[in-house]
Symmetry: C2
Subunit: 321 residues, 2 copies
C-alpha cells in the first residue's frame, strides 16, 4: 500500500505510467487552485476522459474499498481533490453536488483568504468563518476530506474543532522542524491527531529541511520527528510532487487572477523559480524506497505500513466509507 | 402506476401533497428553461433540500427500480429534468457530470434554436447539429432521456436517427389531431415508435383540442387517436401541468433573457395570458381518473397500464436502467 495524498502539475500518460511503475496504490492529483465552478467541472471532465483513455493504468476511486480494488489489481487509484473551495462559488448546496461528481478532497483555502477562512500567507488569520463552519460540517456529511495544508493555523484549529469527522493536512511539514508559513504548528498537529486526523509529510524543497531532501534516511528521520509530535497513527505522505511544471504553471499557482505583483508562493526572492526535486526523489517512481528508509530509522513493519498508506486509508474510510 | 413525464411551475409541499394524494408513482418536474450551469445546479440543490424536507412524501429517482420502490412504499418519485440544454454550456463532458448529479431528462432545445438543433418555433429548423449529434450519443451513454417536446420536427427526426437508445417527446400532442407548432407530426410519432420511444399526451389547453380539455372521455379519445398513430406501446402522459404559475413565471418561460419583445409561447395575441386547466383536471390529483376514461373508450386493463405509466417505465429502463 502506497498512498500519496497530494501531487500536482500536469498529468499525462507518462506520469500515470510512472505512478504505476512506482507501485502507487492511490494518489490525489490537484484538479485546481483558483478555478470557479465551471473550470473545476472542466477539470473533472478531463479526468473522466483520462480514466477512459488510460483504463489499463488508473481507476478514479470514490470509496475506500475502491482503493483496496486498486491494491488487488495493480491499478493506480486516483482520488480527486482541489486545493481550494472556489468551485463552490458560495453555495453550500454545491458541496453535495461535487461529492456526487466524485470529488473527495477539498482544501479550505489556497494561498489567499477566502469566504471560508484564513490562509497561511495572510497577515491575519481570520479563523473559520460562519460559511466555513457550515461547509466543514457539510463536507463531513457528504464524504469529502477537509484539507488544511495551505490554511492558517487558527483556521485549521477551528476546522478540527468544527468538523464532525477527522480532517487532513495532506501536504505540509511540522513548523517546529522547518519553520515556514506553509508548515503547521505542533499545536495543530496534536489537535489533528487527537481527532483522528493525518498529516502528509511533504517532499517539496521550499518547505522541507535540506537533510530530508538529501537522502531517504534524512526524510525518514524527519518523518520520525513528526511522529514524535503527532503519533504514528497520524502521519502519512503528501509529497507535493509536481509534474511537467513550468513558469506558466507556477505563475498560475502563485498569482491566479488576483494580482499583478510578483508572488513567490512557498519560494522567496532568493529562490523565486523552480526548485529541484529532493535528491532521493528525482522521479515519483522512487517514493516506495521510503519504506526501507523508515525501517532503517526504527519503524516496525506495521508502522511503516501505516505511514506509507494505512493511515490515509483509515482516514478515507472514516470520511467517505 | 401513474407517471406524468412533465409538469412545471413552482413546487412546494402543497404540490407534493397533491401528487401523493393523486397517487402519482413518478413525476418529472421542470428544473429549468433557460438557465446555465450554475443556476441549473442551484435548482438541483434546491430539489435535494426539498427531498430532505419532504422525505415522507417524495424520493428523487435515479434508476427504474427506484420508481418501483415508490410504487411499493407510496412515495412520489421525482425524476429530474430540464427543458433545455443550456446547462451544458457547450461542454460534452458536462453530460456525464449532470448525470452523476441525478439528471435523467434533457430537452434538446426549449423554444429557441441552440447549439444542438432547431426549435419548433423557429422559421427554419436546422436539424441536429454536429454538437447535437454528439450530445445525443453521450446522453444515451450516460443514461439521460432525450426529450424533443419543444424541438423542431426535423431536429427530432435526426435525434431519433442518431440516438442509440429510444427517445421521448414528453409533453406534446399529435399535430394531425391539433395543429400547433408545439405538436409533432405523424412522421415524428411513427419514427419515435419504431425506435421504442414514447410521446406523452399533453393536457395544456393551448396545444390540446377543446374536447380533450372538456372531459376525461374527450382526453381519452385523443389518447386513442394518438395510439392509432404511434401504437399502444408508445403513448403515455405528459400533462405539462403547472403549479403556482404567475405572470413573472410565464414571462421567464417565454422570454428568458433573450428578448425585449412580446412573446406568447404556445399562447397567442388572442390568448396571451394564463389559460385555464382542463375542465376534468382542475387539480393534479385528478389525473388518475384518466384510467377509467381510457377503459371507457375501449382500452384493456393492460393497455391502460401501459398508457398510465408502463410505457414510460419501459423507456426509462432502456435509457437509464
Amino acid at each position: 500500500m502506497l498512498i500519496d495524498a497530494l501531487q500536482c502539475g500536469e498529468f499525462d500518460r507518462n506520469v500515470l505510467e510512472t505512478l504505476k511503475r512506482g507501485g502507487y496504490t492511490c494518489v490525489t492529483p490537484t484538479l485546481g487552485f483558483w478555478e470557479g465552478t465551471l473550470e473545476s467541472m472542466d477539470a473533472l471532465g478531463l479526468w473522466r476522459d483520462m480514466e477512459r483513455e488510460n483504463a489499463d493504468l488508473i481507476r478514479i476511486v470514490r470509496k475506500a474499498d475502491d482503493i483496496l480494488a486498486c491494491q488487488a489489481d495493480g491499478k493506480v487509484g486516483i482520488l480527486l481533490g482541489y486545493q481550494n473551495t472556489n468551485l463552490l462559488e458560495d453555495r453550500i448546496r454545491y458541496v453535495e453536488l461535487f461529492a456526487d461528481m466524485g470529488v473527495r478532497v477539498l482544501q479550505l483555502t489556497y494561498n489567499n483568504q477566502n469566504e471560508l477562512g484564513g490562509s497561511c500567507y495572510e497577515d491575519e488569520d481570520s479563523g473559520l468563518t460562519r460559511f466555513g463552519r457550515e461547509v466543514v460540517v457539510e463536507m463531513a456529511r457528504c464524504g469529502i476530506v477537509v484539507d488544511c495544508s495551505h490554511v492558517g493555523d487558527k483556521t485549521t484549529l477551528h476546522a478540527i474543532e468544527h468538523s464532525p469527522k477527522p480532517i487532513a493536512v495532506t501536504h505540509a511539514n511540522a513548523a517546529s522542524i522547518f519553520p515556514h508559513k506553509r508548515n503547521r504548528s505542533d499545536a495543530v498537529l496534536k489537535a489533528l491527531a487527537q481527532t483522528g486526523g493525518v498529516i502528509g509529510c511533504a517532499a517539496y524543497r521550499n518547505i522541507t529541511p535540506a537533510e530530508a531532501c538529501a537522502s531517504v534516511r534524512g526524510f525518514a528521520e524527519m518523518v520520525a520527528r513528526t511522529v514524535e509530535i503527532a503519533g504514528v497513527d497520524h502521519v502519512g505522505i503528501g509529497t507535493d510532487f509536481s509534474y511537467n511544471s513550468n513558469d506558466k504553471f507556477r505563475e498560475w499557482m502563485r498569482k491566479g487572477r488576483w494580482t499583478r505583483s510578483v508572488q513567490y508562493g512557498a519560494g522567496s526572492a532568493a529562490a523565486p523559480g523552480a526548485v529541484s526535486k529532493p535528491d532521493w526523489l528525482p522521479a515519483a517512481d522512487r517514493l516506495a524506497d521510503l519504506a526501507d528508509g523508515l525501517a532503517d530509522v526504527g519503524f516496525s513493519a506495521e508502522e511503516v505500513g501505516k505511514i506509507m498508506g494505512g493511515n490515509w486509508l483509515r482516514l478515507y474510510r472514516s470520511v467517505f466509507g
